[in-house]
């Protein structure tokens, strides 16, 4: 109760300071509204008002909308989405001011965030890393058993926003790293099991020491954007942003920025465009990064050598997004939203192998691939809510469609494991179906079971040993639910605010979920 009173008085204080500052002057009030937008809305709706995880909020997109209706959404939140209620968190005057500001502000030009800005944002929390413990300060048999969950926090920021690490054999929390704004992606260093990297929706990257469960450094790489990859030798990180349209290569040890890239190019329709960063991936196949330029429809391959030269693969698809690896990391399967295909790219030849039919708005999440009867099968989710909702299965050796499995709704992320019988997909259609996960039998390639997880269930992930299936019950669930991967009995619940992506440390060994570690061995 005390905490609540403290919060309210803090809000009151902020409000009264806000009122004092805005006193009379229109310009100051506008600045204030922009600050309110930055502090409360921008991490999801985009710092440039151009949209990100959530819709674009600007004069154009909100034209003709009733200010009262917009005020209601801000006050009460929007059910079945991540939009929280701001009633009592923002004052009525602030909410009115915001609505006015949003309805009169155009989408902003690409704001600058230069390599100098990045350098200035570098924070060091542990100066001398030799003072860190030499092994984990908690009991764990194998660091592969660590599972990280990106907890967004109800408001996408504040005390609820953190990376939560769990021992996936005991299902107990082993540590939490506060991230300030919503954690989105967690990657692990393939060369040293102690380091994890957490990227937030406001494009900060935290270097985390998993042995002592603390952040040792952080850097802000942009305004918004989750794209991040770690090189196979563990020496480099590449990060890309939605706002602004750039990417950067960092030293994975110090997080110091080494080189930035302006993301622009000629799209498949011949138009020169500035582009958001989509997925970024390091591969066990080579010392390279692959990055998707969403709007330009290009995949760039960056060589990790002097000058970081770029090979551009053009005309991959319209609005690229996420991807997964196969064949020792030589083949990259990348989703293209607007032409309903997944493009297969050969990272050795650096060209497109084939474009495979996917489904309605393919979103492969982390992707999944499993070996069944000698064939390597890839699984692709599709998050469009169309008449026909399917999960595509491709033969990744022959690069052809094997089957399109009907599922009950749009899907966002598949999970598989060499030792688990089912491929799990999250149904995200915005009604009761959003509570569920469907399980596809690896052999029959049919949905054999639907789990009612609760909340908005998404981002399934298997523990490194394949014995357990972790699922985020997401917003309005506020827990991660753990199932036995064979019996599908619920075995544990780990509570946290608005959990989203789940990332097993085992991924550094099996590359793509569902493959066995031998896949990587084969690449070396």
């Amino acid at each position: 109760m005390h905490a609540i009173i403290k919060k309210i008085s803090k809000t009151l204080l902020t409000t009264s300071i806000g009122l004092l500052l805005s006193n009379g002057s229109f310009a100051e009030a506008e600045i204030n509204a922009h600050q309110l937008f930055e502090n409360n809305c921008a991490s999801c709706h985009g710092s440039d008002h151009g949209g990100y995880l959530a819709p674009a909020l600007n004069a154009d997109t909100l034209k003709g909308r009733s200010p009262t209706a917009l005020r209601t959404i801000i006050m009460a939140g929007s059910f079945d989405t991540l939009m929280p209620p701001f009633y009592n968190r923002l004052s009525d005057d602030e909410i009115r001011g915001l609505v006015k500001h949003l309805q009169t502000t155009p989408k902003l030009p690409n704001p600058a965030w230069t390599i100098e800005d990045m350098k200035k944002s570098l924070k060091v929390y542990v100066k001398d890393e030799s003072t860190l413990p030499a092994k984990p300060t908690y009991t764990i048999d194998n660091m592969d058993n660590v599972i990280g969950v990106a907890a967004r926090g109800k408001y996408g920021r504040g005390e609820g926003s953190k990376a939560v690490f769990i021992n996936s054999t005991t299902h107990q929390k082993i540590g939490e790293i506060l991230t300030g704004t919503a954690a989105h992606i967690i990657d692990y260093n393939p060369a040293n099991p102690r380091w994890a990297y957490v990227k937030t929706d406001t494009a900060e990257i935290f270097k985390v020491d998993l042995y002592s469960m603390q952040a040792v450094r952080s850097i802000k790489t942009g305004y918004n954007g989750p794209g991040m990859g770690v090189s196979r030798n563990g020496k480099y990180i590449m990060a890309g942003s939605f706002v602004p349209h750039n990417a950067v290569i960092l030293d994975a040890d110090t997080l110091e920025p080494l080189k930035t890239f302006e993301l622009e190019g000629i799209d498949p329709d011949g138009k020169m465009v500035s582009s958001d960063s989509g997925m970024i991936i390091g591969t066990p196949f080579d010392d390279i990064f692959a990055i998707a330029l969403e709007n330009a429809g290009q995949v760039w391959v960056v060589d990790l050598k002097e000058g970081f030269p770029v090979t551009k693969i053009e005309k991959v698809g319209r609005h690229l997004h996420d991807a997964f690896l196969s064949h020792g990391g030589q083949k990259l399967m990348i989703a293209s939203y607007d032409d309903s295909i997944v493009a297969a790219i050969d990272l050795k030849e650096r060209k497109i192998i084939k474009k495979l039919e996917a489904g309605c708005v393919p979103h492969v999440g982390g992707g999944s691939a499993v070996k069944v009867n000698g064939r390597t099968l890839g699984f692709g989710t599709n998050f469009g809510d169309c008449d026909k909702t399917v999960v595509s299965v491709w033969d990744l050796d022959k690069m052809e469609v094997v089957k399109q499995i009907p599922v009950s709704g749009g899907t966002e992320s598949p999970a598989a494991h060499a030792n688990a019988p089912y491929v799990a997909v999250d149904i995200i259609s915005k009604d009761r179906r959003a509570r569920t996960i469907q399980l596809i039998d690896k052999n029959s390639l049919e949905v054999v079971k639907t789990l009612d997880v609760g909340g908005h269930a998404y981002f399934p992930e298997y523990s490194a040993d394949g014995k357990f299936l972790y699922v985020s019950a997401g917003y309005s669930g506020d827990e991660v639910v753990v199932y036995d991967s064979h019996s599908l009995a619920k075995v544990a619940s780990v509570t946290m605010e608005s959990p989203a992506g789940i990332f097993s440390h085992g991924r550094v060994r099996y590359m793509t979920r569902g493959l066995s570690p031998d896949e990587i061995e084969g690449a070396k």
Binding site: G77, Y87, N88, R89, Y155, E159, G160, S476, K490
Partner: protein, 103 residues
């Protein structure tokens, strides 16, 4: 383990009661998820939220408060509107659900 037993008990309770006693913590959870959780959370509100926690609150207190909000003897625009949409059974179920949650 406890959660499984609890869920089991709830389900058992539900199957025994069916329509005799319509109010149940299980129905309450569904109602809470649909109506209350946006602000108060399905377990507890966000660490950042300016809303009171309902977990472990006295059941009678919750029922009384909701009924007062519903008939507007207790005034709050948002709560008056929300409680106005709840039936007696809803109120009992929701109060029963939150009162049984561990804070």
């Amino acid at each position: 383990m406890k959660a499984i037993v609890l869920t089991g008990l709830c389900l058992l309770g539900l199957s025994l009661q069916t329509s005799v006693f319509a109010a149940s913590p299980y129905a309450g959870q569904a109602r809470a998820a649909a109506v209350c959780s946006q602000c108060h959370g399905i377990r507890t509100p966000s660490a950042e939220a300016p809303f009171p926690s309902l977990a472990g609150q006295d059941q009678t207190y919750l029922e009384t408060a909701l009924k007062q909000y519903r008939d507007k003897t207790r005034k709050n625009d948002v709560m008056n509107a929300i409680a106005g949409s709840l039936s007696d059974t809803d109120i009992q179920s929701v109060a029963s659900y939150y009162s049984k949650l561990k804070p």
